[in-house]
Symmetry: C2
Subunit: 377 residues, 2 copies
């Protein structure tokens, strides 16, 4: 009897791999004879590299890169399938978490470090790449990333510009004569569920820049810069990305990846679930268990639990969700197809206690779920 | 398909009847076609009358009685089986909850009100009685109760004594010439799981009197008084109850009920489960659900959940426990035979939130339990 354990991370508490391991230990306690397959997942954000590396038995590598303010840092990304493929999280180098509160300023930040990771992968021979974008500190339309790959951004006097948000308004020409050859031989998939376009009221600047430290004045400057970049991408690279869905993700990195790298934007969950071979695991499974740190049933049904549910349903496998906290009416989730939902809290406890003992609570709850599920005679 | 719902109360939060109703609403949400039998239970303490009245479709009656300090109060007890039987909780009249903190003093308190309830029942024609004892404010060896039934306690000058803890040391003779005739025609079962004897280091005074407000000096006075009462019960009533198990329950009311009323002490859970016809309900059931406010798996496996588990196991019915809070390792409970255990907490919440929304949380959790249980294909 096969049990598939396919959770997201419990944000700020446990990685998807840790969650999957805790769940697996509880499940095997309840049912020692079962075949337990762990498929840690992600939705394109945090944990994307780890999930794919775990599923494909790849490895994480550490390389030198620059953070959003161009300070040298060590970053990690994943290699898999005999190092022929890579999975990169933009936030590893260019994430908001890299900055102190007073350093947040999308006029000054750059996706350069993300480009360095891509370059490192290309240099190793990688020709197939997944880029998870989410949690960015930047609004540079991918200018920084492109710089690291050989693109040059020139002002009206032909001088090269620093690839930061502020420079977008000064770009007069995009020079692609020195771009890395390997980039054209490489397929790039962007894992993202953001559908916002690059420009306009739902675009990268008004919607996302404020949380990266932009004042209303900065948002205006950035919007102008993104608009200018959009025109130049069309003129110099023949890439019309201004209104494409997903172009606004990660401060326009979505649009930049499409224009500079001919990347394809994919649903984060589906991309990762496919690479993690979730469907194969579900084939012939008797039960699937998914989970996420917090599930708000009324407004935001987590992407990973919903995705696992959908795929399990398609194969007729009952799926149970386990969360750190369930907010709202669980029946709504049941109606969507979740067989049952449980919280790991063993009673009235503090958030601190819940975070500190999450591993134990998860194992205990999963054990009870599997025990109950198998007691039906 | 039959589902039996047989919980204890969630102490200081919901009665067993309320718990059972909330669980039933959740279960029927999950499985509308099932036959759901609710069997609210108790262990002899709080909720004993309500549980039996609910099971036997009896009724609660309200009568005048005296509280532990002989102040008039209204109290309730249950009548069932066409008013031929009654179930009385001593705490209704003589409980510690009747007193303010500064009023607690077992030298001054009396079980008289408990006797008044018994008398009222006998006057209505009741000849079979259950007395739940627990939560008493008294240490009078049942002297107060006996007074209400016609016993007289005389000092060495033949004067009648007030039936309070303090008087025990002054009793020279127990006069039973005016005892209610009906008492001798009546069977009385005491629901109690206390096994402490009346006297000695494990007796009523040293073990229980302190929590009723007794100082160490008072405990000594009470121990002497209980000892004197024990001798007189043997001399005047031919009842040797000083070292009988359970005699120390409710400040010696256990011994008093045995000596004055020829009562039989029974396991609270078993007595109530039998009256509530739990075994009949379990016959042919597919699932049993029990619960209690708090279950500490390491030290105190609640009497009701343990009892329901035992009886369900005997009939091959899987049993699931639902608690407000689970403390300790659930696997211990599984090893005892509980198929699975869940808490109603939907995440890290405060005790206040848990208490206020317990009904909703219970219904939700029960619904998920039944959904999970029935999803096994």
């Amino acid at each position: 009897m096969r049990i598939v354990i396919a959770p997201n991370s419990f944000k700020e508490c446990m990685t998807a791999l840790e969650v999957a391991k805790a769940m697996a230990s509880g499940a095997s306690q309840a049912c020692p004879d079962s075949e337990i397959l762990t498929v840690p997942l992600a939705d394109g954000g945090d944990g994307t590299a780890e999930a794919i590396v775990a599923a494909r038995r790849g490895r994480m590598v550490q390389v030198a890169a620059n953070d959003p303010l161009m300070r040298p840092v060590k970053v990690q990304y994943g290699l898999f399938d005999d190092d022929r493929k890579a999975v990169i999280e933009m936030a590893a180098a260019s994430g908001l978490w890299r900055l102190k509160e007073h350093e947040k300023n999308p006029l000054k930040t750059s996706t350069y470090g993300t480009g360095e990771m891509i370059r490192d992968a290309l240099n190793r021979g990688v020709r197939s790449l997944i880029v998870g974008i989410g949690g960015s500190a930047t609004t540079d339309a991918g200018m920084g990333m492109a710089s690291a790959l050989g693109y040059r951004f020139l002002d009206e006097y032909g001088n090269e510009l620093a690839p930061i948000g502020d420079s977008m308004n000064l770009v007069a020409q995009i020079d692609s004569s020195n771009v890395l050859e390997e980039l054209h031989e490489t397929e790039i998939f962007v894992a993202s569920d953001v559908t916002n376009p690059l420009l306009g009221p739902n675009g990268a600047a008004p919607v996302y820049a404020p949380q990266k430290g932009a004042t209303p004045e900065m948002v205006e400057i950035l919007e102008k810069g993104l608009s200018r970049m959009s025109s130049l991408l069309e003129r110099d690279l023949n890439a019309a990305v201004g209104d494409k869905p997903g172009g606004g993700a990660a401060g326009g990195l979505g649009a930049g990846l499409m224009a500079f790298c001919d990347a394809q934007i994919c649903s984060g969950f589906d991309l990762i679930a496919d690479y993690a071979r979730l469907d194969d695991a579900l084939d012939g499974a008797a039960l699937a268990i998914t989970g996420e740190g917090k599930i708000d049933s009324s407004t935001q049904f987590g992407k990973v639990p919903a995705g696992v549910m959908r795929r399990a349903q398609a194969k007729g496998v009952p799926v149970v969700g386990i969360a750190g906290a369930l907010v709202g009416d669980r029946t709504l989730l049941n109606e969507h197809g979740m067989a049952a939902m449980f919280s790991i809290a063993p009673g009235p406890i503090s958030l601190q206690d819940a975070m500190e003992k999450a591993g134990d609570y998860l194992a205990h709850t999963t054990e009870q779920v599997v025990r109950l599920w198998q007691c039906r005679t």
